[in-house]
Symmetry: C2
Subunit: 345 residues, 2 copies
């Protein structure tokens, strides 16, 4: 089959690799019909150590079950399924608590012996725990993009909002107009927030943010951005800040625009080890939360809203490519020419 | 009157200062009958920049109202009252939310024009909002030490536990066997925690911790301490960690011994600006919370348990001195000869 392999910064290739097969009795093989490129794929794309052997990449996909191991219950050949961006058994103590990203038997797509999601097929470990059957058809072109966002980007935006405690009484700042930031706006709106300030400077994206529920857009950064947020929040900052970028300046901004007693919830993968978490933040009782989103936990809650048309997170996709164009898809996303690239198989 | 003034590291003096008077109509003057020295007083005592003019110090006191301004309702001469460690109006938007430490009209004892708590009398700004009337007598020697802990140390331990979300289903690690750490143990026990691991190496203190509810004591630090906590928590770490020290190593330990998806709640004043809050913590979905405790908010909830003898946080006091011995009290606490020093007027 064809699959995406990354070798180093800027070096993404589509290659012929062995077809996946059942190895463990808990595996399934899924033929991918939609996949996509994630903002977090751009971190290795821009700065990874060279990997001469190559490394499979991609962690968001939706497809059709082709084969199941003997211990996989509840799934059969032909089922349309979505895969969360980590695999998990859905039964261990962490999964039971809803923290599937810390599953005792879980792991990452693209790890050794595990396929990446940007390829024609994937061997799915812990298939019964990982895959969620979708009440849609593989040819349902209107729904598939939004269903694909359950894999990561919508679930991640939702995680940011949930961990921040967003509700109808909380004001919200979303930092970042990438696909996760826009999904965080949508999630905050869905949870009832009435004021949602989106920090972003790319107008096509912030326009989509407005249609997802952003009430204000702040294009300024740094001191000016902080001043604008304070102005928009009665001088106080907002109760919650959803940090959807992952850089140190974004986190620093988050800590400055959050209201005393408020919460900074991070879902952008931190590109820093240490951050401002000392006396100033302590004096204002700021909580820092968030992390890798347990998408698997959230899918049952989010799925009905997509199926019934109440939310359409799939609108974050603004480009559709075939597998051979994946290297160009990476380039376009890294250049911020494309917001989020969908791969059609 | 006599009051405590700090001039620099190791330089605490008791001096004659002007008697406090009503300045604002919202002030009261309180004659102090009990005060104490806080672990946080030891930070300036060990490392402040020299202050040639001197600075009043002390922020925990209990006393009798001597005089009230014309706008002070609900208090009168002769009332026994406790003062939280910041003053606040108890009516602004932050106070209404229970975050009195961010009061729009609040401030700190010892600030310019404001008396410190380690003196014979204090002018109390925002007196109606700040002071809480106590249903006890000024001669009730058995109750006064515990009532005095409402000013800071018990309320602070409680804040750590509340912000961490301690309940009967959460396991708890308390870092630090100082008075706040021991009060955090007591607070966690009061909130129903069944496993409370106390990290501390001073046996008299950890013994008191056990009698407050600690189920395990870990004397080891660093890697060995982390290994012990993991051993005691099924290899996972505990759901909550109450960090009651404030040094960077204590915070680093907290981040290592917390369970994935768990919460580190800090009430030791951070002696660092940046801390480990990057990718590792993000991957494990660790929440960092806590801060300066809004003692005023908690007093109504904690007071009945003290009055009815269900908790006795006053047991953290192991030395009683008069005002003239305050410099020696600081020395003894800094040398860890005394756990917490009470000042009797």
């Amino acid at each position: 089959m064809q699959a995406t392999v990354i070798y180093g910064p800027g070096d993404v290739r589509v290659e012929h690799v062995p077809d996946p097969k059942i190895i463990e009795s808990t595996d399934a093989v899924v033929r991918v019909i939609r996949s996509c490129i994630c903002g977090s794929d751009l971190w290795p794309y821009s700065g990874m150590d060279p990997a001469p052997e190559g490394r499979r990449i991609g962690h968001e996909f939706l497809g059709v079950v082709e084969e199941t191991g003997s211990d996989v219950n509840g799934l059969r050949r032909g089922d349309l399924v979505v895969a969360p961006f980590v695999y998990s058994d859905n039964t261990c103590e962490f999964c039971v608590e809803g923290l599937h990203t810390s599953c005792l038997h879980g792991g990452n797509w693209g790890d050794e012996q595990v396929d990446g999601g940007q390829g024609e097929a994937v061997r799915v470990p812990q298939a019964a725990g990982t895959l969620v059957k979708l009440p849609a058809g593989a040819d349902d072109a209107a729904l598939l993009p939004s269903l694909l966002t359950l894999s990561d980007v919508f679930a991640t935006g939702h995680h940011a909002a949930v961990k921040a405690g967003v509700n109808e009484r909380t004001t919200v700042t979303v930092i970042g107009d990438g696909a996760v930031g826009l999904c965080a706006v949508l999630a905050a709106k869905r949870l009832g927030a009435e004021q949602i300030i989106l920090m972003g400077r790319h107008e096509a994206r912030t326009d989509l943010g407005r249609s997802f529920g952003a009430t204000d857009v702040v294009a300024e950064r740094g001191k000016e951005g902080t001043a604008r947020i304070r102005e928009l929040s009665g001088g106080r900052g907002t109760h919650t800040v959803l940090e959807c970028v992952g850089t140190l300046p974004a986190f620093e901004t988050a800590m400055r625009v959050v209201r005393a007693g408020g919460t900074v919830s991070r879902v952008g993968v931190p590109q820093y080890k240490d951050g401002p978490i000392g006396g100033l933040q302590f004096g204002r009782n700021v909580t820092v939360t968030g992390g890798v989103a347990p998408a698997r936990h959230y899918i049952p809650e989010l799925l009905p809203d997509i199926m019934e048309g109440r939310v359409e997170p799939g609108r974050v996709f603004d480009r559709m490519i075939g597998i051979s164009a994946v290297p160009e898809g990476y380039r376009a996303m890294a250049a911020r020419e494309a917001l989020k690239v969908q791969i059609l198989f």
